[in-house]
């Protein structure tokens, strides 16, 4: 945090000054570790084992915040007697189909609750479409009354299931798996639990070190379980804080430039399941469920009205048919592989540099070299614009400029001070930026570019009678422009996002005002209120020094300017603060007519619903939430310790090894995440795991990180004089022990090799990296920043070239925080010799053309070698048009295994 979010870290230092204890768990010793009270080095990719160990410590010692857990979580809910835990199935949960590598989730449901959305085909669809990014805010659907045992004694209540699931995650197991000293681990357990409860709260902060894993969503889930057990959610000083890495990456998720989402986490309609407006709306609101998603019809119709204006009417289902339909995985990695296969014609890059910043840089560049045209909009001449003249593949002959047909337009962009608009920062707060100066030369904003591109495309199609062109021609695209360059007004667009009454133009104040009859429109329901009272609330700048500590009058946070989500949980079930010290939002019986919720923040609850409210039998929607159900977007109003729906890889987080690991999974026979997304093709080979043999060819673990002085792929830092001077060179940090073992010299060169590529870096030998003892042997870990490429004022090899593509099944984010590698002294070879070096490693490590190791490593369906799955669609994929080989060479399990039999089974 001190490295990548330094100014945010001032609040950690502030807390420390007031007596907070800071714990830093990280493979690397960083500027954060230097300020922490306790630094705990950990083996990369073992966080679920570590956190699961803390869950076990809490449950074995009865340290949970019992009142909170019983009232506000699903700990008391009773699960179906068909559920079988991963503890009994060697790392798989009940319902697993080894053929599709997905789960049939009927057995995961609560007792007496009809299993919904549980068909196996459904999970295929969900993995393909990264559905967890919708579930992120959608919560679970719970129909009817769930059986509960508030004594938490029932053997099938969530609490007892949780307890059994983590019983083997003992301090010894944590030490053995994570390479952590058991005393250090127990110190973390004590600190966390002692600092949680009525009087105290603990915050958990994470970043892409958690998301960029093949089991990343479950990392965060484990954190959520702990924070719920300890009563740290919805309370001041608590929470799980995602520190996001780009100025408006939160905004670009809320108003998504993402394939599977529409604004406000509405799903992009799917050709199979959402063939009509009603089906689409019902898929979101889940009729019968409780909570605020019950109004999904209004949210969806307001979006359609914002898109197609007067053309969207109740008679034509508000132009729902105009929405294109997805049919599977259309994520960025799949798209890049499709580029290599010649299926994509044109590509826009908008302030993003995948030639350096995305996993598997070679695939990225080969994809770009196989397009008809590429439009790059950026401040600088980044590597993604110049791959045709300075990609590493030019040297190896894989890209020949004279043979590369891609037409490239480099369109200079306006900077953040040359346009006005809002960024949404990492805590969901929108902040308006004023424009300072005009952009120079041909530099233009994205607002300008897309408005005019749309105008020109519409103009070209204006005489078309084709049905396919109606969505463009009927689009509500009348944005008035101003100034010399005919720039649209960002404030006009923000008003449309906020929403307004169609007849009067009056801006809506809250999404509760959205109607499903077409009389209101709004482009992103969760942002409704940002233009409350016709005032740009995001532009509010009341100085922090003139406000209380919540500072609610600086900018505007969605939803409804709430600064802490689910803050009803900061009061006890009766509505009183859990303690004076941690008072935040509470019920004031004397306020208003019959009492109101009040406090420092905007209550994240119906303002006048008393704590004693109990829904009438059969009530659903908002009325179905009781006065003490704080988690108002969940189908049962409860925080989910156990997740019966919505996750592809299981209802409880379970330790799986990273896809590339030098170790066997010490806990289960199932080695890695069995449901992960894989693209098994020759240009995406992975290093072998111990199970497949020859993993010793890539004996070391590597991870990646940012430096304070650079920003992601370097597009905003390597072209700046000061920053380039502060961090001039690509390096690999190694321990003295590894340096001695491999003959690496400080400030000399090293070459790092994987099955994809080899890169070179300066060697930084420090004792900040320590070899760890794992499963009785020493493991060396190294790390590299990933900021460099061939362009800019300072250049170097790209760390992302080392990674292959394996994705988390829930959100399709790649595993790029952990891989295995070899490290050798000296510079890498160039030209063909580089390819030969990598091929030599592949040959020695048993990476054989056309043969791929199985993902399922336990149970009756354990895979042997097979021929690959280039599209990652699997045998029952939603679309088979790209072909697929489901054939498996049976009886070839564990080829060339040089390791012992599976443990832990």
């Amino acid at each position: 945090m001190a490295e990548a979010h330094p100014v945010g870290f001032q609040w950690v230092m502030e807390a420390k000054k007031r007596g907070a204890k800071i714990i830093h768990v990280d493979p690397r010793f960083t500027r954060t570790s230097a300020h922490a009270d306790k630094f705990v080095p950990i083996r990369v990719g073992t966080d679920i084992a570590f956190l699961g160990g803390i869950v076990n410590y809490v449950l074995q010692n009865g340290l949970e915040f019992r009142d909170y857990v019983v009232a506000y979580t699903n700990a008391a809910s009773i699960v179906s007697d068909e559920y079988v835990d991963a503890e009994e199935l060697d790392g798989l949960f009940s319902g697993f189909d080894p053929e599709t590598r997905t789960y049939e989730t009927g057995s995961w449901q609560y007792e007496r609750q009809e299993a919904e959305g549980s068909a196996r085909e459904d999970h295929d669809v969900q993995r393909e479409t990264a559905s967890a990014m919708q579930h992120e805010t959608h919560g679970i659907s719970v129909d009817g009354e769930v059986l509960r045992d508030e004594t938490l004694q029932h053997p099938r209540c969530v609490y007892q299931i949780l307890k059994r699931h983590y019983a083997r995650y003992t301090p010894e197991m944590v030490a053995e798996t994570c390479g952590v000293d058991p005393e250090d681990f127990l110190e973390v357990c004590r600190a966390w639990t002692e600092n949680s409860g009525r009087e105290r709260t603990t915050a958990l902060v994470y970043s892409v070190g958690w998301t960029q894993h093949s089991v990343g969503v479950q990392y965060i889930r484990t954190g959520a379980i702990l924070q719920l057990l300890l009563g740290n959610m919805g309370r001041p000083g608590g929470g799980i804080l995602a520190l996001r890495g780009h100025a408006s990456i939160q905004g670009s998720t809320d108003i998504p430039t993402l394939f599977n989402l529409l604004p406000g986490y509405l799903p992009m309609p799917n050709a199979e399941q959402h063939t009509s407006l009603q089906e689409w709306v019902d898929a979101v609101r889940k009729p019968g469920s409780k909570g605020f998603w019950s109004k999904a019809g209004a949210y969806g119709i307001n979006l359609l009205k914002a898109y197609w204006g007067d053309k969207a009417t109740p008679e034509n289902d508000f132009c729902f048919d105009y929405l294109p339909k997805i049919t599977g995985d259309h994520g960025t990695y799949r798209t890049v592989l499709d580029m290599i296969d010649g299926k994509v014609k044109g590509y826009f890059l908008l302030g993003q540099n995948p030639a350096v910043g995305s996993a598997h840089g070679r695939a990225q560049r080969l994809g770009m070299a196989n397009l008809d045209w590429l439009v790059v909009r950026d401040l600088f001449e980044i590597e993604s614009a110049t791959f045709w003249k300075n990609a590493p593949e030019i040297e190896t002959g894989e890209i020949v400029p004279e043979e590369c047909r891609t037409e490239v337009f480099l369109m200079p962009a306006a900077s953040h001070v040359e346009k006005e608009g809002t960024f949404t920062q990492t805590q969901r707060m929108l902040q308006w930026r004023e424009k300072a100066v005009e952009a120079p030369g041909d530099c233009r904003s994205e607002l300008w570019f897309f408005y005019h591109l749309g105008r020109m495309v519409r103009d070209r199609l204006k005489d078309s009678t084709l049905e396919r062109d109606r969505p463009i021609l009927d689009l509500n695209w009348d944005y008035p422009t101003h100034g010399e360059h005919a720039e649209p007004s960002a404030e006009d667009v923000l008003k449309e996002i906020n929403g307004y009454e169609v007849a009067t133009g009056r801006p809506l104040s809250t999404f509760m005002e959205m109607k499903d009859d077409g009389s209101t429109l709004g482009g992103c329901w969760i942002y409704t209120g940002v233009f409350k009272d016709g005032v740009n609330q995001a532009a509010r700048r009341k100085p922090g020094s003139e406000q209380d500590w919540v500072a609610g009058e600086w900018g505007w946070a969605w939803p409804a300017n709430r600064r802490i989500l689910y803050n009803r949980a900061s009061a006890d079930p009766s509505g009183k603060p859990w303690s004076d010290r941690k008072a935040y939002v509470w019920w004031d019986p004397d306020k208003g007519e019959n009492g109101e919720w009040t406090g420092y923040d905007v209550p994240d609850f119906e303002k006048t619903k008393p704590p004693t409210y109990r829904p009438p039998h059969g009530a659903d929607g908002v009325a179905g939430l009781a006065g003490d159900d704080p988690f108002i977007m969940q189908g049962d109003g409860k925080g989910a310790l156990y997740v019966p729906q919505g996750l592809i890889d299981g209802p409880l987080p379970t330790h799986y090894e990273p896809v590339e690991s030098p170790f066997r999974n010490p806990v289960y026979g199932q080695q890695g995440n069995p449901t992960r997304k894989e693209y098994q093709r020759e240009d995406n080979r992975l290093n072998p795991s111990p199970r497949e043999g020859h993993s010793d060819v890539f004996p070391f673990v590597f991870t990646t990180s940012r430096l304070t002085e650079h920003h992601t792929a370097g597009g905003m830092s390597r072209y700046l004089e000061y920053l380039s001077e502060l961090q001039p060179e690509m390096f690999v940090e190694v321990s003295p022990a590894l340096a001695a073992e491999r003959g690496l010299e400080h400030s000399g060169w090293a070459t790092i090799v994987t099955a994809r590529s080899a890169i070179e870096a300066r060697v930084l030998v420090t004792d900040r990296l320590r070899p760890l003892r794992v499963e009785g042997r020493t493991v060396h870990q190294v790390w590299m920043p990933y900021h460099w490429g061939p362009g800019g004022l300072v250049s170097g090899d790209s760390t992302n070239d080392l990674f292959g593509i394996s994705l988390d099944p829930n959100v399709l984010i790649q595993e790029s925080k952990v891989g295995t590698c070899d490290v050798r002294p000296g510079r890498r070879p160039t030209g063909k010799a580089l390819l030969e070096l990598v091929q030599g490693y592949r040959d020695r490590s048993g990476v054989v053309e056309g043969q791929y190791a199985g993902v399922v490593t336990t149970g009756p369906g354990a895979d042997g070698i097979h021929e690959g799955d280039p599209t990652g669609e699997g045998p029952s994929g939603m679309s088979r048009r790209n072909g697929h080989s489901g054939d498996r060479a049976e009886g070839q399990d564990e080829p060339g295994s040089d390791d012992a039999a599976p443990e832990g089974s």
């Binding site: 330094p6 100014v7 001032q10 996001r244 780009h246 100025a247 408006s248 990456i249 905004g251 670009s252 998720t253 108003i255 998504p256 394939f259 339909k325 994520g331 798209t335 994509v344 014609k345 044109g346 826009f348 890059l349 908008l350 302030g351 993003q352 600088f380 614009a385 003249k389 004279e402 590369c404 047909r405 037409e407 490239v408 337009f409 200079p412 953040h416 001070v417 920062q425 930026r433 004023e434 300072a436 100066v437 030369g441 530099c443 994205e446 607002l447 070209r460 969505p471 463009i472 689009l475 960002a490 667009v493 482009g523 700048r541 922090g544 600086w554 905003m716 790649q814 679309s879 048009r881």
Partner: protein, 187 residues
């Protein structure tokens, strides 16, 4: 105080009201004669740092229609006036001599860039979008399902852009039937 020894800082520090030497005692005539460059700014724009997602407040100082300085905004309850090395270098981001200010065009099979008029480039891009969309249009997919889309046009980026920009990008691409629209949030 003239040039007599009475003006020595150490004497002023010991005898005056600034014993710690952090205020008037250490001011020189030279200090008094200069002013910070922001003092002569024509205006100040309230802005936000463009790097990570913490959202630190920035004050952008403008003189003669040029950015002369970018500083942290002390009013911000997020950042209290602080900026990290990147945020502090953001004036350099805006004014860097390496900034691309002209459209550049690489013809198929070319080995060098050439210049292109902005308006011409926009028209060429619009032509290519229309053509790629036409050439790859699907009313139904291979399994006969209604999809109304193109898989021939993809986009990556948005995390560094404004909400209003992302909104228009998604709106336009969705209307055109382009669905492979992605950004850093997937990465």
């Amino acid at each position: 105080m003239g040039r007599s020894f009475l003006g020595w800082p150490v004497l002023r520090q010991l005898s005056g009201r600034d014993p710690l030497g952090r205020g008037p005692a250490v001011r020189s005539a030279r200090t008094d004669s200069i002013s910070p460059r922001i003092a002569t700014a024509d205006r100040v724009a309230k802005s936000v740092c463009p790097y990570c997602a913490v959202g630190c407040g920035q004050k952008v100082f403008v003189k003669d229609e040029r950015v002369i300085q970018i500083e942290g905004d002390p009013d911000s309850p997020v950042s209290r006036g602080r900026l990290c090395p990147k945020g502090s270098a953001s004036k350099n981001l805006v004014t860097s001599s390496m900034r691309q200010t002209k459209v550049r065009y690489r013809r198929p099979y070319a080995t060098e860039w050439e210049d292109l008029d902005l308006d011409v480039a926009m028209n060429m891009i619009a032509d290519r979008v229309v053509k790629a969309r036409n050439d790859t249009w699907q009313d139904i997919d291979a399994d006969g399902r209604k999809v109304r889309r193109t898989l021939g046009i993809a986009s990556l980026g948005g995390a560094t852009l404004d909400n209003e920009e992302n909104y228009l990008i998604k709106k336009l691409f969705t209307a055109m039937g382009a669905i492979q629209i992605e950004n850093q949030a997937r990465i």
